[in-house]
């Protein structure tokens, strides 16, 4: 069953890569956002789903990556070098930060991870020489050879899509590996996992780092894609909350669920919210509340529930 969902999601993902052939700039834009959100929610699964640590640091990684990418591209780096560097910085930073923050559990960890984005936003705001501060940062065109608007849009779609594919496969490999097994042990009982020889500190830090590295690279791509970033835009608290909602929507702890949850989330967002700009975040809140109260195990549990319901009747 699990394998089937995984391969199903993979096939869907590959099919999704054909989107540019539709030749619609609207579809490309939504598609790029869908890939970006899916990178976030699939990455979050490593720390939040496997390890059971409620991390609100996704937004921090995203903003960090966007600023690393933006600053480096401005210094003349190529897009891929800048994205790679953003990933490396996030990985190293997350390991270092993880060694400190992951000693905390429960609410304390959640708050501390939330605070990371606040601090980074303030730093980006005040380090005017490097980041442009509150005025934001302009990022020059970084794609050579594609002068057309559609060409650039397809390029960024494929870049984001490739990154999503990479994220999805890596996260799946982590789930299958010794690391993933250790993380699930930590989720179930951290002290016991430590006793039987899982090095919890290192495992947790690795999980935190893997939850950040691809998000940070996506941030760098985003910065190059939109050409202009500012602190409240890329360190938005909604970037911390949306991946969690998507993962919950799909079903906690499964990368395929997180992927499908992200796509479903964006579908709902497009269908509902663009009609209600004024109450955008209110509708998101309502969705969160309804989801948590009535469908806490996500969409994946619908079929199970239906069959239970049928069983009861029959």
């Amino acid at each position: 069953m699990k394998q089937r969902i995984y391969y199903g999601a993979l096939v869907l993902l590959v099919l999704f890569g054909c989107l540019p052939f539709l030749d619609s700039s609207y579809a490309l834009r939504i598609g790029t956002f869908a890939c970006m959100y899916a990178i976030m929610s699939v990455s979050w699964t490593v720390i939040g789903g496997f390890t059971g640590y409620p991390s609100f640091a996704t937004g921090a990684f995203f903003g960090l990556g966007a600023y690393c990418g933006g600053v480096l591209i401005n210094k003349g780096w190529s897009l891929f070098a800048a994205a790679g560097a953003a990933g490396a910085i996030a990985f190293a930073g997350a390991i270092a930060l993880g060694l400190v923050l992951l000693r905390l559990r429960g609410h304390y960890f959640a708050i501390a991870s939330l605070a990371v984005a606040e601090v980074l936003r303030e730093l980006a705001n005040t380090a005017t020489n490097l980041t442009g501060g509150g005025m934001g940062l302009n990022i020059p065109m970084s794609v050579k050879g594609s002068s057309s608007v559609m060409g650039e849009a397809s390029f960024f779609f494929w870049a984001m899509w490739t990154l999503l594919l990479l994220t999805f496969i890596v996260v799946r490999l982590i789930q299958e590996s010794k690391l993933g097994f250790g993380l699930i042990c930590i989720k179930q009982n951290e002290s016991a996992a430590d006793m039987i020889g899982v090095n919890a500190t290192i495992y947790k830090s690795l999980a935190f780092a893997f939850s950040g590295v691809f998000v940070s690279m996506a941030g760098a791509l985003y910065a190059a894609w939109v050409h202009y970033i500012e602190p409240p835009d890329v360190f938005d608290i909604l970037f911390a909350i949306k991946p969690i909602v998507m993962a919950l929507l799909g079903g906690l702890g499964s990368p395929a669920g997180a992927l499908l949850g992200a796509f479903a989330f964006l579908g709902i967002e497009e269908a509902v919210w663009r009609n209600y700009l004024q109450i955008h975040s209110g509708v998101l809140g309502l969705m969160v509340v309804v989801l948590l109260l009535f469908l806490p195990e996500g969409m994946m549990s619908i079929s199970k529930r239906l069959s239970q319901l049928g069983g009861r009747r029959g």
Partner: protein, 288 residues
């Protein structure tokens, strides 16, 4: 003299921080729920004071008498209707749920009041007290006195009243309290209602000093977090000590490092405390 003036301002601010944090701390300690709505409750309280003064001419300190019962009922209802269903769920669920509720409440306020800053201007103004070169506006002193009185009142309720003892009992050991005949869900709802009432009253007092806007809710919430961690979770004296400590560090920190770094400073302090002294200045280790 500058140092003394800053210290004086910090004490006024610290008392308000205590009032902001004490309800948050109560909810966190008793229900083990982080109430992300706390900041929005505070802002809503400010709007209540602003509206009551503007439309009916009711002074803010009189509005406290309206705010307390109104917010108690709101909090009691939310806990009974929504939160109680997931109270035993993992941290992620309760935290995300209150976050969702906060998005709704905050968005509703944005639609109702817009993001423009409002200011409650007392007319005639209360003037200010001065001694030497030290100056304190009287409205700030009034806000400080009332926030300390409210905090004291909550302390006495928890210490002396029957319901307060039941709340403390549930905090210490839920199962034992239930065996002693305490109706735990109703205590949860009462504690949440008290937390909301404190937030609403803090908002009323803050309206006398700070401009009012739904955007401010996040920063109030942040202060409540930091004060709770600094002072120690779930204790009223802890919130007072934590509030004063935070205000002093912030005031002198912005004198030395510049005001733009005060958020970084307070969150840096938060992280240092979380790691080296998670029980806070007054808390006892393992009292959870």
């Amino acid at each position: 003299m500058l140092i003394l003036q800053i210290l004086l301002n910090a004490i006024v601010l610290g008392s308000l921080y205590a009032c902001i944090a004490v309800g948050f701390s109560l909810v966190w300690g008793v229900l083990n729920v982080i109430n992300m709505m706390h900041g929005s409750f505070i802002v809503l309280g400010s709007y209540l004071a602003w509206g009551a003064y503007k439309a009916l001419g009711i002074a803010p300190w009189t509005s406290l008498l309206i705010a307390a019962p109104v917010f108690f009922c709101i909090g009691y209802g939310i806990q009974r209707g929504v939160l109680n269903r997931v109270i035993a769920a993992p941290v992620l669920v309760t935290l995300t749920l209150t976050f969702g509720l906060d998005l709704i409440l905050n968005n509703a306020m944005l639609v109702a009041f817009t993001a423009d800053y409002r200011q409650l201007v007392l007319d005639p103004s209360l003037g200010s007290l001065s001694a030497g070169s030290l100056v304190v506006p009287i409205d700030r002193i009034v806000a400080m006195v009332f926030s300390l009185l409210l905090t004291l009142a909550l302390f006495l309720v928890l210490r002396r009243s029957r319901i307060g003892r039941a709340i403390v009992a549930v905090r210490m050991d839920r199962d034992a309290a239930r065996l002693m005949g305490v109706d735990v869900p109703s205590i949860y709802a009462t504690a949440f209602g008290l937390g909301a009432a404190m937030a609403g009253c803090a908002g009323v007092l803050l309206a006398m000093i700070f401009p009012i806007s739904p955007i401010a809710s996040g920063s109030y919430l942040g202060k409540a977090f930091v004060v709770c961690v600094l002072g120690g979770l779930g204790s009223v004296p802890g919130a007072v000590v934590g509030g004063l400590f935070l205000a002093i560090v912030e005031s002198f920190g912005s004198l030395v490092l510049g005001p733009e770094n005060s958020v970084t400073l307070s969150f840096g302090l938060l992280i240092v405390f979380l790691i080296f002294r998670p029980q806070g200045l007054l808390g006892k280790r393992g009292f959870e």
